[in-house]
């Protein structure tokens, strides 16, 4: 397990977002966290990524209790070890695509010329090298998400947290982003936590953790055995 949450509880005022959740992700694994809206999946992602602190329970990253760390420690960890990808609005509107991708490297103290070169490499890997000098406002939603993905991966993070990364995209644009994400994650052995409500998106993951009302409804590897008898007959008949 590269990251593991145990008995995590989180409430926003009177609303219980998570009621004692335990999940874990292995190294290089792509895990989809799914469930209807309001089930607590985004909150779980924020807690795993160290953006929010749990009210109770523990979060371990590579065996270390990160929930006990200070905000600046967690912030530094997010910068070096994690990448994040949201539905929209994460690119700095005033910076060009290349500058946006170079930003995490610059924050880490890399010199500007080298950061720019690495950023270009990543834009090229994601097939958007020709957009390097464009501002986010001059790109389509799918192009923006590919640039955002390049920014999330440019530091070669151990973990990538993606929260509905294709929620605002059409099928083909979404497919391009997800295919690039999966490919990059597999070659780098990056663990991906992919939050989505969409089964076609979850199908890009290796397995699914399904939440309902702030608790795990089904974690796939645990229930596969019980379900095979029923599913064997029906899987093929569903056209």
């Amino acid at each position: 397990m590269i990251i593991e949450a145990r008995d995590v509880v989180k409430a926003y005022g009177p609303t219980q977002a998570l009621r004692g959740i335990s999940v874990g992700m292995g190294e290089g694994e792509i895990v989809a966290v799914t469930g209807p809206s309001g089930c607590g999946k985004s909150t779980l992602l924020h807690i795993l990524a160290g953006i929010l602190s749990p009210d109770a329970g523990t979060v371990r990253y590579q065996g270390r209790r990160v929930d006990e760390w200070s905000e600046s420690q967690r912030s530094a960890m997010r910068r070096t070890d994690f990448g994040v990808l949201f539905q929209f609005g994460q690119l700095v509107m005033e910076l060009s695509a290349a500058e946006n991708v170079a930003l995490p490297l610059l924050l880490g103290g890399v010199r500007r010329r080298r950061a720019a070169a690495t950023a270009l490499e990543w834009l090229d890997r994601l097939g958007v090298a020709d957009l390097a000098d464009r501002l986010p406002g001059e790109m389509s939603g799918g192009q923006q998400q590919r640039v955002a993905l390049a920014r999330a991966l440019v530091t070669e993070p151990k973990l990538l947290f993606a929260d509905e990364p294709t929620g605002a995209l059409d099928t083909l644009a979404s497919e391009a982003v997800l295919q690039h994400m999966v490919q990059a994650a597999h070659t780098q052995r990056t663990t991906v936590v992919l939050v989505t409500h969409d089964a076609t998106v979850a199908a890009y993951a290796d397995r699914e953790i399904r939440l309902r009302d702030g608790a795990v409804e089904a974690a796939e590897f645990a229930l596969l055995g019980a379900g095979t008898a029923l599913s064997a007959g029906t899987a093929e008949t569903s056209r």
Partner: protein, 178 residues
């Protein structure tokens, strides 16, 4: 599915004999049931009789004498008419999944129903995952990608319907027990 029109479409780019036609069919429509040779030959005869296709020579290379067929002008017209005809948006209501879920919800309690549906969901997702992985590999011909897209869309529709069904039943239970 209208086999005559599909065969007319496959003959349009170039003339084929029956054996080639069967393989063209099976590789272009990977999701469909493989076509028996008998049906291919019978259909070709019928197309020839109706003037939609015509014999275009014989191919004798390495084996028995094979008749090569090509599309006639009337055949092209018929194909165009078929393509422009709207398919009735038929709801797939004669479906085993529907029957099974309805019966499950009727005869079991909510927890059992949820467990069955979760297992069903896992099976669906596994199939979607396999299709998605195949599609992402980048080596699949376009016809296969399109077939995978359609299969994924249908599986997704099933999943969403199952979720809604479960939520409806939960609501119903709550109403009844209040």
């Amino acid at each position: 599915m209208s086999t005559p029109h599909v065969l007319l479409g496959l003959l349009t780019p170039r003339a084929l004999h029956g054996y080639e036609l069967k393989h063209a069919h099976d590789s272009h429509l990977p999701g469909a049931k493989p076509l028996p040779f008998g049906q291919v030959y019978a259909t070709l005869k019928r197309l020839d009789r109706d003037g939609l296709a015509a014999e275009a020579g014989h191919d004798r290379v390495g084996g028995p004498d094979r008749t090569v067929y090509e599309v006639t002008d009337r055949g092209r017209e018929a194909l165009a008419a078929w393509i422009s005809r709207i398919e009735p948006p038929a709801p797939h209501l004669s479906n085993e999944l529907l029957a099974k879920v309805v019966i499950t919800l009727l005869v079991t309690d909510e927890a059992t129903a949820r467990r069955h549906l979760a297992a069903q969901r896992a099976a669906h997702l596994a199939r979607m995952r396999a299709l998605t992985a195949a599609k992402s590999s980048g080596t699949l011909p376009i016809a296969h990608v399109l077939a995978a897209d359609l299969a994924i869309a249908h599986l997704d529709a099933d999943l969403r319907w199952m979720q809604t069904a479960m939520d409806r039943v939960t609501d119903l239970h709550q109403e009844v027990h209040q």
